[in-house]
Symmetry: C2
Subunit: 212 residues, 2 copies
């Protein structure tokens, strides 16, 4: 059974959303995005594992605690497992069952999904002992290079939904446009809405006017 491994940092995540969400709200929002991703990986029949520096409990996934950096934790996990591993980020709530299934049924040794700007949003490793990850920077190119150097075949999966990571205020638009998941419900409950102004789509947060 494919392990879907989701690295997750619960404390002070998504700092580039500070312009619209408080730290407490960002922590809750990150958990809602995580929950959307877990629903998706479970629906694609993966065994979903949260890889975390501390022990937290989230419905639908088991937690593996590794008090290490992102690369170190993932590489230790890969080295310890024999089943295929799908590493998938917690901030891609548009991920769908179909897009995840497309990854895990690849005919190549590795399937990789680039994020905007050269990151890696998801990477499927058929034989986990044969590969190591190198996140940060232009990790998409780094991962292609690791495949080439290791003689591993690689499929680049072309999916807008998997390539869309939510980092900045403008990215929230994509959730309103393309998701009906928990992340969207959370934003709506905060009074955040999509708006079209001067032909451009954005989000704004409705704030109640104080009565004197």
């Amino acid at each position: 059974m494919v392990h879907a491994v989701i690295p997750f940092r619960p404390t002070n995540p998504k700092t580039r959303l500070s312009c619209i969400l408080s730290q407490e709200e960002r922590e809750k929002f990150a958990l809602r995005m995580l929950s959307d991703v877990i629903s998706t990986t479970n629906s694609a029949c993966c065994r979903t594992v949260l890889l975390c520096t501390e022990n937290i409990s989230v419905e639908g996934a088991e937690t593996v605690v590794k008090p290490l950096g992102l690369n170190e934790a993932l590489n230790e996990y890969l080295a310890e497992n024999d089943d295929s591993v799908l590493i998938i980020m917690s901030d891609i709530p548009l991920a769908t069952r179909d897009s995840v299934i497309e990854m895990v049924k690849t005919g190549s040794d590795i399937a990789v999904v680039p994020g905007r700007g050269g990151g890696t949003n998801a990477i499927f490793v058929k034989n986990p002992k044969s590969f190591h990850v190198d996140f940060y920077g232009a990790s998409f190119l780094d991962h292609l290079n690791i495949c080439r150097d290791s003689g591993l075949t690689v499929e680049i999966v072309d999916s807008f939904r998997l390539s869309t990571d939510i980092d900045e205020k403008d990215d929230l638009v994509e959730i309103f446009l393309h998701s009906k998941g928990e992340s969207r419900g959370f934003l709506e409950n905060l009074g955040i809405k999509m708006s079209v102004e001067k032909g451009r789509v954005g989000v704004h947060r409705h704030t109640h006017k104080e009565t004197p």
Copy 2:
């Protein structure tokens, strides 16, 4: 035979790239991106038509002149044709043969590809007389609404490559990461390169230092 219709404005395009390209360079770059898209639609066995407000000649496509606004020109074209029409933007040079074929072989009446931020990057119309376009603003949602109101079935095609339109300096990174086409060659010839600084990927333009 499917008509691939590419609306194109040759004069002063892509103004949001003014920070890195002069007007003359932007006009040439827009033509190189167009050329990449034409190669792709031709490779997918479409008859490629440039829809333009003035008569220009570009290899690989025939030109239809309509001195109208974008929506008016496209809707007139749809009303005049019986063959299926794929409307595809000229600024999505990452488009591939496979992603275009996925659109034109849809089982639905309409196949649509969202751009980032709610735009529409490509839309396939099986029966052109049954549909009209409404670009600008949140056109992706507008097009879904038009389908619903007209009783047309719609497939939303999930493709990072088709969803990536090149509007801003940061978007150029995607060309360096994912394309080997003419657009990339043009940027490289200008001395524009991809760079990784502090873990973030960007582009910069190499300028020769003046000797005093």
